[in-house]
Symmetry: C2
Subunit: 232 residues, 2 copies
């Protein structure tokens, strides 16, 4: 069992027991903090959504388009997770929305303690939806509860329709799957959205699957309707 | 410090010291095993190359095209790493090349012990180049020596040219960076290869950067020449 990633690594036997004990302690600590975060969101009437995907699948572009589309209807705030750079938080702030950047250094995922720290710098009064954009990684973030209410996994169409089969932990954890960059589908030729959904169903997932392009706006209404229902 | 991912996670203070001790033990064990693997490769005159990238950046497609291009000149073998499925090893075997699939379960990276286990099932006699295709993940695999001689990082053009800035640990570790799916560059419009290289140089990396498309064959000769030089 691998450190805080929660993965079943076949490290040298002598190390395994010790790792399991430490991992369990870390995950217990994380779950405790996540529950605390969730109470904080509930107390403020905030819907918290954890966005997860591979690097460059279009999480920030989706948020930019979402902020524009929901302007005047919902008040939005964003927590950004990246190893380095403040770039994503700056893109969000340029849309007039408060954003806190967490830079994790070399850490492969956000955890509940990092989000808790960011919440100290964020006023949730009047906020309807908080998006937490996780580190770009289709493996580790799925194992860490941040206190969110819903998990959204983005599957970027250039990555191929087999990703739910190859990254089952992430796609099992998803309450919604968004096939992003759908404007590239005609060029790619080899991404079949029906196949992506078939692989997802093989994981016993009932999550809806929507195709969309943040660039062209195609399919955005499915996602926006889903958000409205989440707020209802 | 986060378990075996080697990341600087701000977990609860009470857990940090214990994690650091366990992590150091795991990495020491891994380095020891990696040195053993490297001796094994050297004894057989094998050049071992670790391919790393985000999910769906085209590692397997690159290997398929490489195997075809080098047929009759070099004998190739492949170790495939995925959380689940034997799909990639089957694609490689269909090209007439021996391939061992490692399925890691929920593990976010290969480690030296997993590769060592795979080597027990692989005859390196007569093999010139061994490719190790790591788990699709732009963070964790960079922290684990497998015994390879060279690291190659793939940057898929749809992911955006800012990835070296956002995933510095991976791109610092790379001896070569391949911008893949270059056939999509005209459609994407917003990926500037010069910018990708600029971000890489900001990490003090001297690694060459080649653009290529495994689908069209464009730019493959730079990569094939680099491999020839690696064998020289």
């Amino acid at each position: 069992m691998c450190g805080t990633c929660g993965c079943n690594v076949t490290h040298a036997d002598s190390q395994v027991h010790e790792s399991v004990v430490v991992l369990k302690g870390l995950l217990d600590e994380n779950d405790h903090q996540a529950a605390h975060n969730r109470e904080h969101f509930d107390r403020h009437g905030v819907l918290a959504i954890n966005l997860m995907s591979s690097p460059g699948a279009g999480k920030t572009a989706l948020l930019e388009a979402t902020i524009e589309a929901l302007s005047g209807r919902f008040n939005i705030a964003v927590i950004e997770g990246d190893l380095e750079t403040e770039n994503d938080a700056e893109r969000i702030r340029a849309k007039g929305v408060p954003a806190i950047q967490i830079t994790t250094g070399s850490a492969c995922h956000l955890d509940a303690h990092m989000v808790h720290g960011a919440l100290h710098d964020m006023d949730l009064q009047g906020i309807d939806i908080l998006f937490i954009e996780n580190v770009g990684n289709l493996v580790c973030p799925a194992s860490f509860d941040l206190g969110q209410h819903l998990n959204v996994a983005l599957l970027s169409s250039p990555e191929g329709h087999d990703k739910p089969a190859k990254y089952p932990v992430m796609f099992r954890a998803a309450d919604l799957v968004l096939v992003t960059k759908s404007d590239l589908l005609p060029v790619l030729g080899d991404f079949d959205p029906a196949e992506a959904e078939r692989y997802l169903r093989q994981l016993a997932s009932l999550a809806p699957v929507f195709e969309l392009s943040a660039r062209t706006g195609d399919g955005m209404h499915h996602w926006l309707d889903w958000l409205e229902q989440g707020r209802a």
